[in-house]
């Protein structure tokens, strides 16, 4: 079987002036995952590595650069699944974790569960030696500005995102 990897960086709003950076971001992620595959690595590790690249890129809405909730904080969700045995792990509403996808994989591999959320996910992360990062370090200037704009009277962030994904 010839290996293949496909990645996406989301279907939300794309700022025209950042188009080239979006393109290079997904390209880097795809190539990172493909290199894993070319070296004989598993599809599971390839998708994890590709997603980590985008979680670390402030341009994308995941990991560092995530959008903010109504209180101005980052809460992230992630899932990973292995088609070989239908094993899967997920986390939701996690804070202060740089790479939620790595935590999701640990849920899959180190617990009997499918999904850990919020405080439980944080406690599990700590037990696995995943270091917490200050919440502020996950917030990009762009995310903060968007959050502030959406707080203005008359703003409706839900309606303004209809049709954008």
């Amino acid at each position: 079987m010839k290996p293949v990897i496909v990645v996406h960086g989301g279907a939300g709003t794309i700022v025209k002036e950042y188009e080239d950076q979006y393109r290079s971001g997904v390209n880097r992620a795809a190539l990172k995952g493909y290199n894993v595959l070319k070296q004989g690595g598993s599809a599971l590790t390839a998708v994890e590595e590709a997603v980590v690249v985008m979680e670390d890129d402030t341009l994308f809405n995941a990991g560092c650069g995530s959008v903010l909730n109504e209180e101005g904080e980052v809460e992230m969700d992630a899932i990973i699944m292995d088609g070989k045995n239908l094993a899967s792990g997920a986390v939701s509403a996690v804070r202060c974790i740089a790479n939620p996808i790595k935590l999701a994989r640990l849920v899959m591999e180190k617990t009997d569960h499918m999904l850990l959320t919020s405080k439980g996910a944080s406690l599990f992360a700590k037990s696995q030696g995943i270091q917490e990062v200050p919440g502020e370090t996950l917030i990009s200037e762009r995310s903060r500005e968007r959050w502030k704009t959406n707080l203005k009277p008359g703003s409706n962030p839900v309606v303004s995102q209809i049709g954008l994904g």
Binding site: Y22, L37, F60
Partner: protein
């Protein structure tokens, strides 16, 4: 939201999806990403899917599993991706995008939104795009 699907040299498929969610969302709101079958699904017998878009709509459709169901019925990865997104638009007025890889290595990157950033590498060739018809 970001995501990836892949098939390795042994024919194993996998998916991964990660997100910060909806901007200015309610505290505690969880969308499709963490929900198996919605934010992603992978099964060596069919293929793997990762989704992005309006989370509540994707959850109503269990979109990733729905796309794989269409493939089980005989659709190609591309046909199944389009069918899944069309059904979501028709049934729940929801928009989004999916990436798919089949067990035979066929792939698709489809979206019903105005744009979705995507990239694929197959046979050492990199392709990518943002807008429709790229």
């Amino acid at each position: 939201t970001v995501g990836a699907v892949a098939i390795d040299s042994e024919g194993n498929v996998a998916c991964a999806t990660s997100t910060g969610g909806l901007t200015n969302k309610m505290v505690g709101r969880v969308g499709d990403t963490a929900c198996i079958g919605s934010g992603g699904y992978a099964d060596n017998i069919v293929g793997a899917v990762s989704t992005t878009g309006h989370g509540e709509s994707i959850m109503k459709m269990v979109l990733a599993k729905q796309v794989l169901h269409y493939m089980e019925q005989g659709m190609t990865a591309e046909e199944a991706a389009e069918a899944g997104l069309n059904t979501m638009k028709t049934r729940v007025d929801g928009f989004g995008g999916v990436i798919v890889v089949s067990r035979s290595g066929d792939w698709a990157a489809k979206f019903s939104t105005k744009q979705m950033t995507w990239a694929v590498v197959k046979a050492d060739v990199l392709q990518f795009g943002i807008y429709h018809n790229e």
